[in-house]
Symmetry: D2
Subunit: 296 residues, 4 copies
């Protein structure tokens, strides 16, 4: 068992921290939102008043924050956490951020003699609670081996994507694919039903044909086709439109940095942006069907 500092107790971070406690680790926690800290403390974590206090004595530091700017602000600079973390500790950032940011922080960590991994997750809040997240990890293999028992307490699958930042890049590529195929599926189902097909019949045919994909198999966006998916409950829960928008934005930034062409990826980004602009930002991203299906 390890002494772990966990920073960032939001919708994802809080249940991840609980699973570390359940696995028997000693856990210090910090968040700017006090009630989140108190809740974790009630579950057995040690509340810290500052991030600096939180990492004192920790063998492993884990962070789960909203965006690049938060991760950079936390770790870098004069008062950055990298100066407070103890030598030899392992730092694991589970936030989904720009690969360039992940590389910059890992480089700064290395300069301080600290091993670091970028380990963004997929699986959503449900996976976080159930301990079934997927970790897509960037960094050195030895660091990943050290991290493995800890990650295993929070997730089921662990992929090693490559060096620093590769975890972020792989997650961005996967989620861009997801954003494209969900919107593409919504188009296909809207087109088929506008031409008189039954959405369930069409979904069954496509799920056994060359059009099959993850969304068809477990996350159909058309109401009435599947139970227990966001489409069955008015698109509540699930993975929000604005989160997909964020991930497609990271893909666009990544494409611009490498002068790559992602025409479908950026068009998908704009479709989710249009949908969000219409007020659907907090609905599940499969609600993109509503934008694409003619209702007039």
């Amino acid at each position: 068992m390890s002494r772990i500092a966990f920073i960032g107790l939001g919708n994802m971070g809080a249940p991840m921290a609980l699973n570390l406690l359940k696995a028997g680790h000693t856990l210090g926690v910090f968040d700017l939102v006090k009630p989140a800290v108190e809740k974790a403390a009630q579950a057995g974590a040690k509340a810290a008043a500052t991030a600096q206090a939180c990492v004192a004595g920790a063998e492993i530091v884990i962070s789960m924050l909203p965006a690049s700017i938060h991760v950079e602000t936390l770790y870098l600079g004069e008062s950055g956490l990298l100066r407070a973390i103890e030598g030899g500790a392992l730092v694991i950032d589970c936030s989904t951020i720009a690969p360039q940011s992940a590389k910059a922080v890992a480089q700064a960590a290395a300069a301080r003699g600290l091993a670091m991994l970028d380990a963004p997750v997929s699986g959503g809040t449900a996976g976080a609670a159930a301990g079934t997240l997927t970790f897509i990890v960037g960094g050195d293999a030895p660091a990943l081996e050290r991290a493995r028992p800890v990650l295993a307490a929070m997730g089921k699958n662990i992929f090693h994507a490559g060096g620093h930042g590769a975890g972020q890049t792989a997650k961005i590529c996967n989620n861009m694919m997801l954003g494209i195929q969900m919107a593409g599926l919504a188009e296909a189902l809207a087109l088929g039903t506008a031409n008189g097909l039954d959405a369930k019949v069409l979904s069954e045919i496509m799920s056994k044909s060359s059009g099959r994909n993850w969304a068809l198999e477990v996350y159909n966006p058309y109401p009435g086709v599947m139970e227990n998916v966001p489409a069955a409950r008015g698109y509540s829960g699930g993975f929000g439109v604005d989160l997909m928008l964020k991930d497609l934005g990271l893909a666009a930034e990544s494409a611009m940095a490498t002068r790559s062409s992602i025409p479908l990826g950026e068009l998908a980004r704009n479709l989710y942006a249009l949908h969000s602009a219409g007020g659907a930002g907090s609905l599940d991203f499969s609600s993109i069907l509503r934008l694409l299906k003619r209702t007039v």
Copy 2:
């Protein structure tokens, strides 16, 4: 066993006809290309000099033609085949054409007392030769039951999509989804590798994540990731760019007819059109990676 007339002995039609012969059916054949007819005759079919002669006495008429215009010209009008086919026969058109055309021909057939099915296929020339095609069928259930033993001699899966034209619509929707996800996958792999990822590692991660789809599982467009796919042999064989272009064109027509929105579908159409315009029309459609991957 049935007396079948088979019209259209191209890359797809010829091997389909052979499988009907193997299954023991009595087969008359016709094509405008004489050598194709002779080849089928050598295999045991009865060569006909005209389409009219071919259908004389047939219980089942099957056609496999390039496009809507050919199907309409064959069946409709003063000298159309519907006037020559014997009462009570079943007509099965396996061409991939516009749903509106399929409906128009089926309607004209019904007016002559003939049952008709639209039954476009997927599976390519390999599937046609092996007898493992998928049929996506539109039309009445009783007609499909009559057709089933004959279709089973040429294919493995038979889906009933709905009424007349529904087979075409379902195939169009499926192939639009396929065209989108192949191009989207090419973008994702190009973006990932431009950022330093290994295409094989990234493909493995995505194929076990929410980005997974048919192309990732069996038809990876990135050379070196899979064996026995077009990408492994310079994109030869497979399903041509210009065929994908045709199917996405049918999707666009279908969207215009119903004022549906298929932004990703039409953008994909244009990407394949750009690719074809650059000279890649006869390569496999997974070669869209070449358009999307920066090489300079």
Copy 3:
């Protein structure tokens, strides 16, 4: 002065016919909608009970119909008008239709010894009433010279685009450009104002810079920038979203027929389709700003 038969007295055709009467031509009229015929008769036109009766004795036949199907049905086939029009007459179709249809009808006319022009217009209902339409003409130069005095009674500018169908093609290209630049301008104004710019200031700068275009100069889509444009009156009047959708559909068909790539044109088509699907089909097309401007 000529004996003219005018077929199609809709929003555009009716005021065009009136201008021919004002210019002193002898005018026979026909439309399936009786009140439209009566109204023209009250203004001095000779009402005809059928299209056939209308063209009897006419030196010039003009048609103004909604779409390709109507023009083909009117002129072609067993009971088509081309069989009723007197030898030596000139046929002018002012409808906006597919170039292929225009060519097919012109070819059939030529086979009957009739000269034909495709002469689609721009300028809207206001231009039709004021007699200031622009005609974009396809066909032979001698036929155009015969038509010129008649067209001049209805419009101000007459362009000769080329042979049969060229008038349609040129109009389609122009309107595709218009549809793209209006939507592009809406994006630019939405982006600028979202970043704090004043729409009027930004419009002035762009209208004097390399971003300038027709929409910036006379048809600004942002409410408050210009008076006397649809944006100043809740997007009523003007050129409807569904008409732009139709013209972009003709562009897409034309692109598919020639395997051309029009990625921006087809994306614009889908943006207007999304906008129409949201209920804006009868608003002026500059209302695309509403789709593109974030309001949440």
Copy 4:
């Protein structure tokens, strides 16, 4: 006449500096590239060994650098130039950079008591040499009045877009519009000629119709339509594809920061990216016609 420090003597900066000398200003210059400094010195400028030395005693500081990162690095931080510029001086940044960067630097300047303007230009190297640039300025009106005589020595038009960063935003919006309408025009001309129209005839018709825009009037992308444009000389000279790509990238960043939707803008970005990826990065941006015009 003023004492001016000019930093950044590239393709744009060098001729701009020369025009300041011609107008009689006292000019100190600095660039990391020594030959550029020597050339300006030969024309009468005072060569400085460092940026810090260059700004000593200057009443006005002008910078012309490639991108946000260079501007931020020059002015901000411990050793940034804002600490070296004399109190009361006016700082004018003519670089095209992100509005957020422009705002951040202006804010830091204000904290040091320095007035600052963002004043990106349009008009290209030809306009820079001829002293006919257009300045699109963001910042306070009094600062703009102080800058006006100096800007007038380098350009012809001066627009005041709004507060800090507004110059950048307005330029970005204008150039996005330009990028869209050039690519849209290329599509329209490619579509028209593929359907048999003459590019010159079509261009004339559109330039007098609702499709008219800056590109049609002075910068036609189709070879043979206009003289003295890049299309007439193999797309050499002019405004490079990679520069348009940079500006569309700034538009995309700006859209992401404000969650705006710019579907056409981002698709245009990807078309130029595809074109650049094919090796056309240094050709004039009107060469996008080559990507869009089918040649096979």
